[in-house]
Amino acid sequence: MRRIGVFVCHCGINIAQTVDVEALSEYASHLNGVVVTKHYKYMCSDVGATLIKDTIKEFKLDGVVIASCSPRMHEQTFRRVANDGGVNPYRVEISNIREQCSWVHSNKEQATEKAKFLVRSAVSKALSLEPLKPSTLKVIPEALVIGGGIAGIQTSLDLANDGFKVHLVEREPSIGGHMAQLDKTFPTLDCSSCILTPKMMEVANHKNIELLSYSEVASIEGSIGNYTVKIRKKPRYIDVDKCTGCGDCATACRLKDRIVSEFNQGMGKRGAAYMPFPQAVPLKYVIDDKKCLFLTKGKCGDEPLCKKACAQDAINFDQKEEIVERKVGAIVVATGYDVMDPTAVYEYGYDVSPDVITTLELERLISSSGPTKGEILRPSNQQKPKSVTFILCVGSRDETQCTWCCRIGCMTALKQVYLLREKLGEDVEINLCYNDLRSFGKGYEEFYRKVRGLHTNMFRGRPSEVRTMKEYLKIDIFDTTTNKLFEIKTDMVVLVPAMMPRTDATEFARLLHLTLSGDGFFLEAHPKLRPVDTFVNGIFIAGCCQAPKDIQDTVSQASAAASRAATILSQEELEIDPLIAMVDEDVCTGCGICVEVCPYEARTLNERKRIAEVNDALCTGCGGCIAACPSNASIHKNFTKKQLLNMVDDIM
């Protein structure tokens, strides 16, 4: 006869105010196999844990049911407690009476009734839980970092400095990400490239980092500690071993200054042979195969001029896409964000007037390495503007676009106001239309105060429209602090657009089996306590792919992700949950259906024994083969059919 103990948690009042915990505990004490029930304010506390351990010993328990929060929250905690008390950790069953009962129902009578059935069902499963031992798996002490923006760079450097081999994959020709496009960073006004470039160089030269630029992840297989990653290396049509970065090919290119530069946000031009920006890492040129005359039309004059110009003979039009394979123990995803296309907010006329630009475009105008060499010029006439107007929250905090706050818009605009004053002096009028100015970070409020003193006209409200007139732009805004309607005539409008998930975030999430939150960014395992973990063990997230954030927070998160990855990589072996499939050899007929349904190729047919077998290292415990088996020979450890059916019987 089994000896089960039921422990009901009050969770302060979180459970106790909607579920009658005493009645529940009294009810549980009469269930078959239950020898003791206890209820306590916080089962997960030290006192609660001691209570469980002492009760296990006193009543010689061999199984434990905890009626508390979700198993996704504290299953591991209670398994450890049970183990310390002397009960096999896999003989613990959690009954979720908080997230799926007390928090979602308000009628105490009904909630208590439901909780009783949930506990009864958990007890019936606990009665037949088997004691299991975790299996072990060898860890490959190498990491994959996806995305070479500031987040990916920071994670790679941290891990590499810890002594782990890092494979950094970046899909653009250079690492650096959005941060490389910025001129200065708020609130300290550090020059962005001055603080970023040294880190990019460190990545390029670090003996533990393999930089795979102009590459994308093609597929990922395996699990924590042992992932096999296939990486697609796109052809650069330039031999990186020979290229010295001299730039002769770019100067010679027939399409020089005729292709819109992505790095300059369309404000400048480049050729088909180009380097995205002067500080690029790796400092190698690349040929744009969508534009290059030779690659698209098969003909570039008599011969491609770049090939003629290259003294190193580095141009190679025969390069093909290449797939390389790497084995890693942990993965950090740092794929960043997209800036919203402001044409979606059509009333601001982004596609009507060239003088309506975004903050990122202004950033390129301000930058001394930008298309205007740092001069602020109106795109329509290349004259200095007499008046510049910022519109904040374009698409952000907007039910029709992005409901969330971009967290960097206010500070970016304030920083740019400061830089415009610095560059244009008192000759320029600056207006700023805001909803709320959010200066939440360290030193942000102080920076805001500093900018307030710079003769900026602040209007609180959303402009209804930006109208393009012959010589200027006209904005109507109702200022909610003075209750007055203002008409602003201005030369340039700077939109502060929302931050969005990458357009391919959904596709990418599927590749890695990551979960998206409602807004489309990657979902963390717990918003507060596991902010860089995902639901996939061994895969972590950092930076703006998780949610919009500033550089400070991105770098902190990147270091956090590196440290979480190192927790895995620093172990030689990992304990793996033994909740996987097994075969009842006496019953199996060797029909092979399970072999076909297994998506992980963990099933094979043993021809000699004429039965199916499970490869423990490959099985992930999905249970697909269990439901598919026609003879009930497939057994999901501790999710057996018998256990599930018992649960079904007792839940009603």
């Binding site: 979602v104 129902h105 069902s121 599927r510 089996h513 998206l516 639901f535 999905c622």
Partner: protein
């Protein structure tokens, strides 16, 4: 349907619904409904499974035979399955099951398969409300053994 059965279709009939939720999406979505304190009727009682593809039709039939008025199966959205294609297995199995339900004299509307992601707490709660109402309209299961617990 006998007179006696018809009598049970009165307004205070509380349908019993058993929910099988996959650990990675729907169960997490149900947890999110809890963390966000979104209220829904207490008619559903949830059993956690690792994947919707591991839900044997037998579990569903057993629930119906043991007294459930409806059974809910929740999985990840198509393409999002944590185990690659478990939700597709669930979907195929559901089509077969619908035929069996007919032979048992059960409406196929008593068994629901829905895709609910880990971030769709609201959707989970809404679906539970919707299902409770739909099953209430169908009335007590004609084969339920002891639904009047």
């Amino acid at each position: 349907m006998s007179e006696e059965k018809k009598d049970h279709k009165k307004e205070d009939f509380e349908p019993k619904i058993v929910g099988f939720l996959c650990n990675w999406c729907s169960y997490a979505g149900a947890d999110l409904a809890g963390t966000s304190r979104i209220q829904y009727p207490p008619n559903v009682r949830i059993i956690r499974v690792m994947c919707s593809g591991s839900v044997d039709s037998m579990y569903i039939l057993r629930a119906l035979l043991e007294g459930a008025d409806g059974v809910f199966v929740g999985g990840c959205h198509p393409g999002d399955c944590h185990y690659i294609d478990g939700n597709y297995k669930a979907r195929r199995r559901m089509v077969l099951l619908e035929n069996i339900l007919g032979t048992l004299g059960l409406e196929k509307e008593r068994v629901w398969l829905r895709w609910i992601s880990a971030s769709e707490g609201q959707k989970f709660a809404d679906t539970m409300k919707e299902m409770a109402e739909a099953v209430r309209k169908l009335g007590p299961s004609p084969i339920a053994k002891h639904w009047n617990l």
